[in-house]
C-alpha cells in the first residue's frame, strides 16, 4: 500500500507528531509511506523520522528559505475550506487551502490519513476519487465546540473511516455524529518499547509527567502526596514537565511543607529514563483523550495510579491488576491507592510486571497491524463497490450520495462554499 499522512506541522513537538512518526515508521517496514506537513518552520523535524518515510511540506514558513511562502498575498487571507471553528484556524490561510487542495487532487496514494479535524475536512472534501479517506481524531469529540462538530458532521460523511484513540470516543462519534457508511474504529496510540531496562520497583519514587496545566490537576497529586508523606516520609515524588501552573504548584508545595518530598523537575526528553527511576507512576488529570504517559510508564514497568477520567485511563489500566483507577479530584482516594502500592512491595512489583506485559498491546507493530487491517478491509470493500458500481447503486454509494446532499445543505445554511 501507499499510505500518505497529512499533518499540521511535522517539524514541531507534540503528541500527534510523535505518534504519527511512530506509526509511519512501523508501516514503512511493509508499505510505501509519506508524511505531508502542511507547514514547515524549520529545516529538520525534532522527532526521529524513519529513513524509509518520506517527508515533505506544502507551505514553507522558513524566512531564510528560497521557497519561503510567508510573503505570498494568499498567505495573508484567511482560509475558507479549513473550518473556522478549528483550533488551528489562525494558522490556515487561502494559501494552505489551495496547496492542500492541489495535493489532495493529485495524490498518488491508496490511503490518505488526516491527523486533525480541520485536515480531515480537507480530505473529505478534496481528495480525488479512488483514494481511501481516513480521518484520525487525536482528541475527543466532546472537547470540540458546537460549531466544529457541525462542520465535521457536514464533511465527515465523505470519509471512509474515522479513527479515535479510545472506544469511548468511538461510541461518542457513532452516537452523536451519525455518519452513515463511515467506519468508526478505535485504534490506540502506539508507544515503542523503551531502549532501557524496565524499573525494578525498588526505588522509593513516584513519578508523574505532563504539561503543568490545569487539566492535569497536579494540585490534587501534591495534596495526595502530603497524605502519603505523613505515613511514608521515605517516599518522594517527581513531576516532570513545564507550564503555566508551575508557580502555583511551587507555592502549594512550600505551603504544605513538601519541599523535601515533591520536586518539579522541569521538562525532560526522552522520558523513559525518568520513568525507570521510579516505582509508581501517577496521573491526576481531569481529562485524558488517550493517556500517552500512562502507556509510557507501563512500558517502563511501572504500575500507574490514575484518575478514572474521560476517556483514556479506564481503557488502558486494568484496576487492581496492572495499576489503580481512582475518582477524579479526590486527593485522599489517590493517596490511598498510592499508599496501597507503597506499603505492599510484592503487589507493587507484581503490578509493575503486569503493566509491562499489558502495555505490549500498544507496541507500534500491534497498532500498525490494526491500521493495516482497517485499510485492507476498506480497500477490498472499495474494489467490490467499483466492480458492482456499473450496474448497481451500491449501499455505500447511495449513502455517500445521501450524505453529500445533506452536507451541501448544511454548508448552504452556513453560507460556506462546498468544494
Amino acid at each position: 500500500m501507499h499510505i500518505s499522512f497529512l499533518i499540521h506541522n511535522a517539524y514541531g513537538i507534540g503528541g500527534t507528531i510523535r505518534t504519527t512518526f511512530n506509526l509511519a515508521r512501523t508501516l514503512s517496514e511493509r508499505h510505501d509511506v509519506e508524511i505531508v506537513s502542511v507547514l514547515r518552520h524549520r529545516d529538520t523535524p525534532v522527532f526521529d523520522l524513519a529513513p524509509r518515510v518520506r517527508l515533505r511540506h506544502l507551505v514553507d514558513l522558513r524566512e531564510d528559505s528560497p521557497t519561503y511562502d510567508g510573503a505570498d498575498p494568499a498567505y495573508r487571507r484567511a482560509a475558507k475550506v479549513f473550518p473556522a471553528a478549528e483550533g488551528r484556524f489562525g494558522q490556515y490561510r487561502e494559501l494552505t487551502d489551495r496547496r492542500i487542495a492541489q495535493h489532495l487532487r493529485r495524490i498518488e496514494a491508496d490511503v490518505v490519513v488526516g491527523t486533525r479535524p480541520g485536515l480531515n475536512v480537507h480530505i473529505a472534501k478534496q481528495t480525488r476519487r479512488g483514494v481511501l479517506r481516513i480521518g484520525q481524531e487525536h482528541l475527543t469529540l466532546d472537547t470540540h465546540s458546537r460549531a466544529l462538530k457541525l462542520a465535521l458532521r457536514g464533511a465527515y460523511p465523505r470519509l471512509d473511516a474515522v479513527t479515535t484513540v479510545t472506544e469511548a470516543d468511538a461510541a461518542a462519534y457513532r452516537r452523536r455524529l451519525r455518519l452513515p457508511g463511515v467506519r468508526i474504529e478505535a485504534v490506540p496510540n502506539s508507544v515503542p518499547a523503551p531502549a532501557l531496562a524496565p524499573a525494578d520497583g525498588s526505588g522509593k519514587w513516584v513519578v508523574a509527567a505532563g504539561r503543568l496545566a490545569r487539566v492535569k490537576r497536579y494540585d490534587i497529586l501534591v495534596r495526595a502526596f502530603a497524605e502519603v508523606v505523613a505515613q511514608r516520609p521515605d517516599w518522594r515524588l517527581r513531576i516532570y514537565g513545564g507550564g503555566v501552573e508551575k508557580a502555583a504548584l511551587r507555592a502549594l508545595i512550600d505551603e504544605l511543607g513538601l519541599y523535601n518530598h515533591v520536586f518539579l523537575m522541569g521538562p525532560a526528553s526522552p522520558l523513559e529514563p525518568e520513568w525507570a527511576k521510579g516505582s509508581i507512576a501517577a496521573v491526576s488529570s481531569s481529562l485524558e483523550s488517550f493517556g500517552m504517559t500512562i502507556v509510557e510508564a507501563m512500558r517502563c514497568g511501572l504500575p500507574v495510579v490514575a484518575t478514572d477520567c474521560p476517556h483514556g485511563p479506564g481503557e488502558i489500566i486494568d484496576d487492581g491488576v496492572d495499576g489503580r483507577l481512582v475518582p477524579v479530584g479526590d486527593p485522599t482516594a489517590m493517596a490511598g491507592a498510592l499508599l496501597g502500592l507503597i506499603n505492599d512491595d510484592a503487589a507493587r512489583r507484581r503490578m509493575g510486571r503486569a503493566a509491562l506485559t499489558a502495555a505490549a498491546r500498544f507496541d507500534p507493530a500491534r497498532v500498525a497491524a490494526r491500521y493495516e487491517a482497517l485499510f485492507g478491509d476498506l480497500l477490498a470493500q472499495q474494489r467490490g463497490n467499483r466492480l458492482r458500481g456499473a450496474l448497481h447503486r451500491t449501499r455505500g454509494a447511495l449513502l455517500s450520495g445521501a450524505s453529500a446532499t445533506k452536507d451541501a445543505a448544511v454548508a448552504a445554511v452556513r453560507g460556506v462554499r462546498t468544494a
Binding site: D43, T44, E272, K277
Partner: protein, 312 residues
C-alpha cells in the same frame, strides 16, 4: 580540593560555553553521533554509540573529554572500542579522577578527522538517584551527563574529599536545620557549621562569618542556623552566604553541597521557601538555595525584591 564559590553568571553558562566549544547548528543531521550513557552506583559511566556508517575506527579511536573554561586544553581520552555489531563503547571508571567542572564530550574515531561532538541518547542514571557511598570513601567523584540547551552532551563533574552532603532542609520562620552526611572525614570535638558572607562589606572590613555547633551521629550531621545574624549583616540588595562545615576544631573546612543523585543542576529543582525576618536595616527575606555548582548557600534579600532570585 574545594571549588570556587564564584559561579559564572546564571543562564549564560551553557549557551556561551557551547559557542566556545564546538560550532554546531541546532539542527541535527544524519551525521550526528549519539551516545547512550549508563551510570553505575560507584560513579562510573559507560558510553555506547552507533559506529557511523562507513567509518573505519582504528586502535586510536577515543572518547575525548575536554574541560570547559579557561583551564586550556585539559583533556581526557578514553579508549573507544568495538562492542558488537556497529556499536562502540568507552568506559569512564569511577577510579579515573576527573577534575571538577563541565566537560564537553567528543568522539575521535581515529580516522584523521577532528573529534566530533556527541549528542546525548538515552541516559540511564537510575543507579545515581539515591546514591549512598560508604562514609569512609577518601575522595568522592560524581559525574552526571546531561544535555545543554543546544542539545550537546556534557559531563558535570565534582571531585571532593572530604565532602559534606546536604540532605533534607527544614525551613522555619527564624532559621533552618540542615541534615546531611559527611564523607571522608570523621567529625570530632569542635565540629561546626559556618555561614560565610560571599561579599566583603563596603567599609573594607573582613567578611562576616556565622558559626553554629554541629550535632553528629556517626557520619550523619545536622545543625540549625538561625537567620537573625546573617539578616543583621544585611545592607543592600541580595547578599549570599556560603555554607561550610568544619569536621573538627582546626580541621580544613568542607563546602556543603548536594551531589549524590542524578540532577546535574539543583538550583531550579531543589528550592525552598524564603522567610521574612526583621533586621535593623528593615525586613529581609532569608532562605536556602543551591548554587550553579550545587553548593548550599543562604540568600538574604532586601524588601521589594528588586533583584529577586539573584545570586549564583
Amino acid at each position: 580540593m574545594n571549588t570556587p564559590t564564584q559561579a559564572p553568571a546564571a543562564g549564560s553558562d551553557d549557551a556561551a560555553a557551547d559557542a566556545h566549544g564546538a560550532a554546531r547548528t541546532t539542527e541535527e543531521t544524519a551525521d550526528d553521533l549519539k551516545a547512550d550513557c549508563i551510570a553505575d552506583s560507584a560513579g562510573g559511566l559507560t558510553f555506547d554509540l552507533n559506529a557511523p556508517q562507513g567509518a573505519h575506527t582504528t586502535w586510536s579511536a577515543a572518547l575525548v573529554l575536554r574541560r570547559r573554561g579557561d583551564a586550556a586544553d585539559e583533556e581526557v581520552r578514553l579508549p573507544l572500542g568495538p562492542n558488537g555489531a556497529g556499536r562502540l563503547r568507552a568506559v569512564l571508571p569511577s577510579t579515573v579522577a576527573l577534575d571538577e567542572g563541565r566537560w564537553n564530550v567528543y568522539a575521535d574515531l581515529g580516522d584523521g578527522r577532528a573529534p566530533r561532538r556527541l549528542l546525548p541518547g538515552v541516559n540511564d542514571l537510575r543507579s545515581l538517584v539515591d546514591r549512598r557511598p560508604l562514609a569512609g570513601i577518601g575522595r568522592l567523584g560524581v559525574r552526571i551527563p546531561y544535555a545543554t540547551k543546544l542539545g550537546n552532551m556534557v559531563l558535570r563533574s565534582w571531585l571532593r574529599g572530604p565532602h559534606a552532603e546536604a540532605g533534607d532542609l527544614l525551613v522555619q520562620p527564624d532559621g533552618m536545620t540542615v541534615s546531611g552526611r559527611l564523607y571522608g572525614a570523621a567529625p570530632g570535638p569542635g565540629a561546626q557549621a559556618e555561614a560565610r558572607a560571599r561579599h566583603a562589606p563596603e567599609d573594607g572590613g573582613p567578611r562576616a562569618t556565622v558559626t553554629v555547633p554541629l550535632t553528629v551521629e556517626g557520619a550523619a550531621f545536622s545543625f540549625t542556623l538561625p537567620y537573625a545574624e546573617p539578616a543583621g549583616h544585611w545592607r543592600r540588595g541580595t547578599e549570599p552566604w556560603d555554607l561550610w562545615l568544619r569536621p573538627a576544631e582546626g580541621a580544613r573546612p568542607v563546602r556543603i553541597a548536594r551531589l549524590l543523585d542524578d540532577v546535574h543542576d539543583k538550583k531550579q529543582v531543589f528550592t525552598y521557601p524564603a522567610m521574612p525576618v526583621s533586621a535593623a536595616a528593615g525586613e529581609v527575606r532569608v532562605g536556602p538555595y543551591y548554587t550553579l555548582d550545587n553548593d548550599l548557600a543562604l540568600r538574604v534579600a532586601g524588601p521589594a525584591g528588586a533583584d529577586g532570585g539573584a545570586g549564583a
